[in-house]
């Protein structure tokens, strides 16, 4: 009964965090090996739990394994602490801990020259992993929220890892500090929404346990649909913040200021996946309301599209990847939204397909995005720059990195056999289904379908633009002093992940479809996978992807097409809009200056004038009163004795009056 030890999965990285924090400085690599061992232990336990669960009776019946202890009471509410294992939990645990292990191994090479700071780094990444694994195995929303916040804290610490001293100077470290603050504050807005949603749910269900919530969802929705809808929307607000969805997506590109391994961790294994996981976890609640699901789908589709446009002309290798992450997260949310919409309308099979597509894309994305980030980290390690204009021709010098990254690019571009193809085309497919079967709101989904298809084209273009600019063509400035391939600790994880980028899409033929069943409805992965080939829209996206790759090839390798012609050499309105990120940073600034600063000024006024004024006034009155009363202290002993005499006389008189009042002696 290894599932009873599910709590060990987040507990081991937490112990590693403590051990590294306390004695890590004395161990080799400043605790790096402890972090790897911890992540590996978690992975092994996760494998054991998954094997036990997937072969057990509970899985066959479609039930989760869950157990919880009572944590505390507040009035009528009881809050529990426990674990909840179902197929989604298993899938998430496995890929999070596996990819984290590889990232930690890679960190040994990548962070090698960071000296004493490595200790802090390894402690923080262990805590980060604790947050993610804890969030995955939680049995109720409050527990989830706690780990959610742990991750928020760790992302802040790690994005600002170089805020004290950056190798590239003070400006870079100031940039890291402000990026960390931005990430923290923007996700905080989402977290406040999430907390509000949890309050509403606690109020509606008198509990936050998954089992209770899923059981009573229908009854409660029938009783109070408005409040339930509001709660779901607020929870989705948390997802928008955490998973960097439109309009709170702008923190993620800035978060590139951290070490590349951290970006890899945030984008692939933890953090942004938490938001998608939350939607998937709360799927039985979300399907209650079709309109909320339409909203979720719209946010996802718009995010996918907008983020992809911004990646088109970015020159920073990591930022291109960051935008592609946002764009792919948009796909996942779109799939969950479209699937939930279909489910809410009664098409349970298609709803389960949407759920599967979203989660499946999340898993595939984890593999290839970790691969791409670590590959870019290897390139940055070799060339010392993040600017793709200074790279080029690296294929000859970094064969392993280039080949593995090519695998990643093919996967994300959606070329068949590679993992991205299966899940991305399922996502696009489910948007089409939502249009075909939907009712009045279905017209949205045709728009989202068009956006998703265009995004697929843009994705192929910008990923191969990145790959060609980095690895093909003439070696430019920094590429010329590149000292060759990165060390083995860095290339080994790349090779492993490249294999997964190739094959993880095939998991759907081998049982992942059963694992990611939702509310007892399974899809047939083999059937759905093969159905993609008989769907003409699949060929449409495929052709568009190939065209995108071809355009990138012509522009950046053959140079027969001049990109400058399209953007008037950087002067066109669109080009400027893209480099300004559609003015989202300006919008954030405006909002924070006008609204945030305005509110802060008002609060400041109230605090200084009214709260402080009351306190200061009271203390002033006391001090002034004391001052004037102190004049009584003349220093003349006879004044004191007269006061004593007067006092005693007065007391005597009062005593006599009282006695007389009471009837004399």
């Amino acid at each position: 009964m290894i599932a009873e030890y599910t709590w060990l999965v987040p507990f081991i990285p937490m112990m590693c965090f403590l051990i590294i924090g306390i004695i890590g400085k004395k161990t080799p690599e400043k605790g790096g090996y402890i972090a790897i061992a911890g992540a590996l232990c978690s992975f092994i336990i996760a494998v054991a739990i998954s094997v036990e669960y997937l072969t057990g009776d509970a899985f066959a019946n479609g039930d989760p394994i869950t157990s919880q202890i009572e944590w505390f009471h507040i009035g009528d509410y009881t809050i529990h602490l426990g674990y909840y294992v179902d197929g989604l939990t298993c899938a998430m645990m496995l890929f999070s801990s596996f990819i984290s292990t590889l990232i930690f191994i890679y960190s040994i090479g990548y962070m090698h020259d960071q000296g004493e700071r490595k200790n802090r780094y390894y402690a923080e990444v262990s805590l980060f992993l604790t947050g993610m694994l804890g969030l995955i195995v939680s049995s109720n929303f409050l527990e989830l929220f706690i780990f959610w916040e742990v991750m928020g804290l760790c992302s802040y610490l790690l994005i600002g890892f170089w805020s004290f001293r950056h190798d590239n100077g003070d400006e870079a470290s100031a940039n890291a500090a402000s990026a960390a603050k931005k990430a923290f504050l923007v996700t905080r807005m989402g977290d406040v929404c999430l907390m509000g949603g949890l309050f509403i749910f606690l109020n509606l269900f008198m509990s936050l346990d998954y089992t209770t919530l899923f059981e009573h969802a229908e009854a409660v929705y029938a009783q109070d649909p408005e409040l339930m809808t509001l709660g779901l929307l607020l929870i989705f607000g948390g997802v928008i913040g955490k998973s960097a969805q439109f309009p709170l997506h702008d923190w993620l590109p800035d978060a590139m200021a951290g070490p590349t391994t951290v970006s890899s961790l945030i984008h692939a294994a933890t953090m942004v996946k938490a938001g998608v996981y939350l939607v998937a976890r709360a799927f039985p609640l979300y399907v209650m309301d079709a309109n909320v699901m339409v909203f979720v789908g719209i946010i996802g589709g718009v995010t996918a599209f907008i983020a992809a446009t911004m990646a088109l002309n970015n020159m920073n290798i990591k930022k291109v990847l960051a935008y592609s992450t946002i764009s792919q997260l948009g796909y996942m949310i779109l799939a969950l939204g479209a699937g939930g919409y279909l489910w809410a309308l009664g098409y349970e099979e298609l709803g389960a397909l949407g759920f599967f597509a979203g989660c499946f894309h999340m898993i595939n994305h984890a593999f290839f995005k970790a691969l791409l980030f670590m590959g870019s980290g290897s390139v940055i390690h070799g060339t010392g720059t993040e600017d793709m204009r200074l790279m080029g021709g690296l294929f000859k010098k970094m064969k392993i990195t280039a080949t593995t990254m090519l695998f990643g690019c093919l996967a994300i571009a959606g070329i068949p056999i590679f993992s991205g193809f299966w899940s991305k085309d399922l996502v696009i497919d489910i948007a089409m289904h939502a249009f075909e079967h939907g009712t009045d709101a279905s017209v949205w989904f045709i728009v989202l379908w068009v956006l998703a298809v265009i995004t697929a084209f843009m994705t192929a273009f910008y990923m191969f633009r990145m790959w060609f600019m980095t690895f093909m063509g003439e070696p430019r400035e920094n590429a010329q002093h590149c000292h060759g391939e990165s060390p083995k600790t860095m290339t080994m994880p790349l090779v492993i992940l490249a294999i997964f980028a190739l094959i993880s899409g095939l998991f759907m033929f081998f049982g992942l479809d059963k694992m990611l069943a939702v509310m007892g409805v399974q899809i047939d992965g083999a059937e759905e996978g093969l159905a993609l080939f008989s769907n003409m829209f699949t060929y449409l996206t495929l052709v568009l992807a190939v065209v995108g790759i071809a355009i990138a090839y012509l522009m950046y390798v053959k140079k027969t097409v001049d990109p400058g012609k399209f953007n008037k050499h950087g002067d066109s309105w669109l080009y400027k809009a893209l480099t300004q990120r559609w003015w989202f940073p300006d919008l954030y600034n405006q909002i924070s200056w006008k609204l945030g600063y305005g509110v802060a000024k008002g609060v400041n006024y109230i605090d200084r004038q009214i709260v402080d004024g009351t306190v200061n006034g009271l203390s002033g009155a006391v001090v002034g009163g004391g001052d004037s009363l102190s004049k009584v202290q003349t220093g003349h002993v006879q004044d004191y004795s007269s006061i004593v005499l007067i006092g005693i006389s007065a007391l005597a008189v009062i005593f006599l009056i009282i006695v007389a009042q009471l009837g004399g002696f």
Binding site: S630, G635, Q638, S641
Partner: protein, 102 residues
Amino acid sequence: MIPMEFFLILAAILFCIGAYGVLTKSNAIVVLMCIELMLNAANINFVTFAAYNYDITGQAFVIMSISVAAAEVAVGIAILLNAYKIRKTTELNDAELTTMRW
């Protein structure tokens, strides 16, 4: 027999004289003497009540009170003598002695 009120009135007059002296006289020795007057006014009251109530306790208290007063005067005079040595005066309104104020 002399009525008890006579003694009590005598004690009250004596007390008032003493209090007046304490509050108005500027010479510390006079103030000390006035304090003795007030004490003795209280002693007279004690003795009076003891005599009229046939209770010996009051007289015992007076003996006690007189001895304590003697000790107190001795201490007071000693302090005054020392103050006089330093200040060359026994005035209560001396500037140096009135600095203990706000």
